[in-house]
């Protein structure tokens, strides 16, 4: 049940074994559809994240895998076996719950031993595995404490240990770091990565924190309103969002609504609603666009350059005026109002000798390669 042979975690070819599959899964609660036809394939040994804003159905998706919810339609397959209606206690998965759900009537040791005791393992084996797992999460010193006597980070480790000690095929993590402060969260992120690499287990993590998802995951699926918007590696998701929602949700971006004005083999020209003309390099996401189709142009703030002089290089260069300048330490965050009336945000490395004054006339510039054009088919 828990063989989980260690694979090269980077291997994502079609030949790898699938640990979790969701096939056209729907979940309806009292007439509200939380999950609408989700298809997922999670490979053995990968760190997979489900990312989305709250209410997007990501936690429900995880609960469907864990077995706490039964799908209204569709199929859940774990390690090749259909588990759609199998109760949670017969699934080879374990969950690390949001805010941990530790048993406060049991000690740390008893919490971790819970699953093994239920399985009826001999005492010696339990003791050995609990000890081993305590060491893994560095909690050997807290064996006899009760959860209420532990800090948040320590509780997090116990929750991890309690799940891992059962050697599940898939480890499900529901917003595992959500309750921790920033510093602790960074530390635990590193530890999660290490654990994942050491154990070679399949991790499925639900989070609303895009940074966490981008830094930890092998692949990410972005969910929105019960549907999967995009599945891909962190860089695919960030660099090539396939919808305006993903572009907007992952990182910051400037979006301009408009229509396709002209197409050629390598470039697309778009006229925005505010009559700006933009040139965008053609990419896979924009292959199927038609002339006059309603589109959105997305430019990341860090890809925009601000100059005091108009730039003569071919590309997108617009005149504007600085509205706000926000000092962020490593970066300076600027809001620029273009002559067209659009407001854009620009993230500049902190190389200024002194911060520019608001109302300074500036020119915003970006190359066709640095922006994306996305069809507005689903998000209006």
């Amino acid at each position: 049940m828990s063989q989980t042979a260690v694979q090269n975690p980077d291997a994502k070819g079609t030949d790898t074994v699938l640990d979790v599959e969701l096939r056209k899964v729907f979940k309806v609660f009292n007439g509200e559809t939380a999950v609408r036809g989700v298809d997922l394939e999670i490979h053995q040994g990968e760190f997979f994240s489900i990312l989305g804003p709250s209410g997007c159905g990501k936690t429900t998706t995880l609960r469907l895998i864990a077995g706490f919810e039964m799908p209204s339609a569709g199929e859940v397959v774990i390690q090749g076996k259909s588990m759609t209606y199998v109760p949670p206690y017969r699934r080879p998965v374990n969950t690390v719950f949001q805010s941990y759900a530790l048993f406060n009537h049991l000690t740390v040791w008893e919490n971790i031993a819970f699953g093994l005791r239920i399985k009826g393992l001999p005492k010696a084996a339990i003791a050995e595995r609990v000890k081993e797992t305590l060491k893994l999460v560095k909690m050997e010193a807290f064996t006899n404490r009760f959860p209420t006597q532990l800090s948040g980070g320590q509780q997090q480790r116990v929750a991890l240990a309690r799940a891992l000690v059962n050697r599940p095929a898939v480890l499900l993590l529901d917003e595992p770091l959500g309750a921790l402060d920033l510093k602790l969260r960074k530390e635990m992120q590193v530890e999660l990565t290490n654990l994942h690499q050491d154990l070679g287990l399949t991790f499925v993590m639900v989070t609303h924190d895009q940074e966490e998802a981008l830094s930890l995951s092998d692949r990410i699926s972005v969910m929105h309103e019960g549907k999967i918007e995009q599945i891909g590696t962190p860089s695919e998701i960030y660099e090539c969002p396939q919808s305006a929602f993903v572009a907007d949700f992952i990182g910051d971006t400037n979006l301009f609504g408009g229509r396709v004005f002209a197409l050629d083999a390598s470039e697309i020209q778009v006229v925005t609603e505010t009559k700006m003309k933009m040139v965008v390099q053609k990419q896979s996401a924009s292959m199927s666009l038609n002339p006059q189709e309603a589109v959105v142009v997305s430019v990341r703030p860090e890809k925009i350059q601000l100059n005091l002089e108009p730039s003569c290089v071919q590309g997108n260069c617009f005149e504007g005026r600085l509205k706000h300048v926000m000092y962020l330490g490593t970066h300076v965050h600027c809001v620029v109002e273009l002559t067209s009336g659009d407001r854009i945000t620009v993230k500049q490395p902190n190389t200024f000798a002194s911060l520019p004054d608001p109302q300074t006339p500036v020119y915003a510039y970006w190359t066709p390669k640095d922006c994306l054009v996305l069809a507005c088919r689903d998000t209006a």
Partner: protein
Amino acid sequence: MSTQISSPPTPPTPKSEPQASPTAGRWLGYLGLLGPAGIWLGLLLVLPTLVLFELSLVPGLEPGGLVNPSGLENYLRVFEPVNLLVMKRSLFFAGGTTVICLLLGFPVAYWIALLAPTKWRNLLLVGFVLPLWTSSLLRTYAWITILRYSGVLNTLLTSPNPWLSNLGLPTIPRLELLNDWPAVLIGMSYGYLPYMVLILYASLEKLDRRLLEAASDLGANPIQTFCQVTVPQTMPGIAAASLLVFITGLGDFVDPELLGGDSTMTISRLIYNQFLKTNQWGFGSALSMVLIMLVSIAIALLLKFGDRSAAS
């Protein structure tokens, strides 16, 4: 010394009274909050108990007799075999009722708290508590009507039953439940079940359902989850409800008297008899003191073992 160390850094003044007195004053002020209830308890609980204790030390005290505490004879009488038997029986009734109420009440409270549709919950609870709105005496009389020799239950059981006769089975004999211990257990359990359900409900409602999911996730089937998570988690509620039923049951007078017939003398009935029938006030007081001790022991046990998680 340790108090000085832990106190906030103050200049080493030998007389720390200026610091201490405002705190003490505030403390006394808060004590004033206890005033009304304190007077109430003092006059109506502590004082009468002390008087009762004094009476219990007067051997053979009758009403109108001189209260001159002089010995423990009354207490020695308490430990005569027949009185020990009565106490044992009282404990059996109270304990049996507690167990029955727990077995019947837990599933109900569990169902209402965790499984029933939310909008029905209050209605279900009210429905369960509804019997408490009628007089307990009336409810006991209702049980007499049901359990008696010619009562509702026996009429139902012994009425010609086509299924039984078709199967060639003999008819059910009349049950002689009234005037014996089963009737007492039935009556008491019925009377205290609502209290049990209410307290357990309050406890189960607070139960963190994610803990149930966590247990299920770790491989525990519903029965294992129930035994290893639900029960320990609601232990304070279980203990409180059981204690309430047990103590009330120990002092119950009406049910044993009306339903129990001739062989169900309990400690509370015995006390009643000492005061109102045989006029043995000294002995009655001693019995009362023993009853108070029994209840105190039950509470002490609860405080010591009832709530492990809260204690930690």
